[in-house]
Assembly symmetry: C2
Homo-oligomer: 177 residues x 2
């Protein structure tokens, strides 16, 4: 079955953005020739799930949607016409994820933002989390993890420290026998 | 100069306790013969700073204060008589820390809780953070990092993954030239 995988960067104090969607703290770990495994990860997925706010933020920054080659589902409450492989999805998130997991092919990338991540965690739908911890305390902003989710036990798959001080923690849902 | 070092455990979603000061998630990583470097760390300190609520919580659980052999400062708004080396400190936190850092000897251990940690971060007084990330999402509780602190850049000293899935991330304040 396809797995739904979160791949995201956060500050040590748990924020994915500073106020006003400021992501400048990520520049601290930008180094030539170091993508922190992103290209290798993206090669394992053929489907993307993303929140509408994150999508609009990205589209404001880049000329072309970076996931145009994949089946992308943008979660929104407002209908928009499909653009190529990109579908604006107004239905039930759990239904979508359970359907996508049944399809053949590669895995599913959850590319944020925090609202979608927390909805997926509430439903227990995230199979793996790959979290890149940037060595900084930003002090304020949008938290990756919001209050009011169920408990979920995890297993550590790997922990990697990089030259820049970024540490990448990879977890999967713990399997109960 | 003595350094002030935070040594603390948190869930992956950033909580140091579940509601009602429930620390049972820590039991997931309790393994015979594995103290995650705690004894080695404690051997490097001769002074402890701790919040009053954390102190009372500890004293409710154990017959004897675990830091009775060190100079301990319990931060409180209500005066209490000194007990051996343990002082209940009602003065200014920054004054205390700056004074202690000037003394000779080993380092200073910040043993929580979240209120004290966040006050120290607001004042830029924590020199190092050793954070043990427990592989679980607890969903709710007392956050290690509260909103409304200044930005602080860090340098990664080390990252260690343990058999249990706990990862220990060790940072120090970044030095600016």
């Amino acid at each position: 079955m396809k797995k739904l995988i979160l791949y995201i960067a956060t500050s040590l104090d748990g924020y994915i953005a500073q106020p006003n969607d400021d992501l400048s703290f990520l520049s601290r770990v930008q180094q030539p020739g170091e993508d922190y495994g992103y290209a290798d990860f993206v090669a394992t997925v053929d489907t993307v799930i993303m929140g509408r706010k994150t999508y609009d933020w990205v589209m404001n920054k880049v000329p072309e949607f970076p996931h145009a080659d994949k089946a992308a589902y943008i979660l929104t409450r407002t209908e928009r016409p499909r653009i190529g492989n990109t579908t604006f999805y107004t239905g039930n998130l759990k239904d979508l994820v359970l359907r996508l997991k049944q399809e053949d092919g590669k895995h599913i990338f959850c590319d944020g933002g925090a609202e979608v991540v927390n909805e997926l965690l509430k439903e227990g739908l995230l199979d793996e989390l790959i979290i890149s911890v940037v060595p900084t305390l930003v002090g304020n902003g949008t938290r990756l993890f919001k209050d009011g989710r169920p408990e979920q036990e995890l297993e550590l798959v790997s922990a990697r420290a990089f030259e820049s001080g970024l540490t990448q923690l990879h977890y999967r849902q713990a399997v109960h026998n």
